[in-house]
Symmetry: C2
Subunit: 129 residues, 2 copies
């Protein structure tokens, strides 16, 4: 099945992963520019972080070009699930409904979104015995 058990990304690492998920494989420069707005990350800072992430196995890089191209190893979904699972234990004592409760409270959720979430749950109900 291959679940190499990657470490939980730090905050800055996560910001980089988000860019890679959105853009697909990218160079340091491309990532830096995308991060500029929300973080003001400098070029060498991003480079260093991405080098560290390579060591940790969070990203892999293609060195065939002069500007190395980095790519996220884990999908957004898998990483998000890992992070939420961790949160569930650490903050909510494993209660998914409490988490959902606070998620809906934290952000005013539109009727459309609520309906979509309901559909989601209906699907899970089919699967659950």
């Amino acid at each position: 099945m291959a679940k190499p058990d990657l470490p939980k990304p730090t905050e800055a690492e996560l910001a980089i992963l988000r860019v890679l998920w959105e853009r697909g494989p990218s160079t340091v420069r491309e990532v830096t520019e995308h991060l500029q707005d929300e973080r003001g990350t400098g070029y060498t800072t991003a480079l260093k972080l991405m080098q560290i992430m390579t060591e940790k196995g969070l990203v892999k890089r293609d060195e065939s070009e002069r500007s190395h191209v980095y790519e996220a190893v884990a999908s957004a979904e898998n990483t998000q699930r890992q992070i939420v699972g961790d949160l569930l234990d650490r903050v909510f004592g494993g209660s998914a409904q409490q988490l959902v409760m606070q998620a809906l409270s934290a952000k005013r959720t539109s009727k459309v979104e609520l309906a979509e979430i309901k559909e989601l749950i209906a699907e899970f109900e089919k699967k659950a015995k």
Copy 2:
């Protein structure tokens, strides 16, 4: 309304807050003993953390007894909401339904729980226009 805007608790701080929420106001010794199992936190470590948390305003303490009694300033609900709101932005780009999706995937959720969550959503639907 008084929303003093407390800092986000760190991991170790959160573990302490969880004990305070569960037990109510407690001494350092009591907290340490509760934390012993899951964290192996030493007495002076807990003490130091709780002193720092006092400075940050996360807890307040009653010094009228020789053993100071600490109490969480923010409720579990408020703190959880803050943390989830932060996560929503940082990890899910603000999409509550993606968060719910991963929460339900991360933990096998029972039919009973799913039903409860559905009720929750029904209530939110009433409030939302």
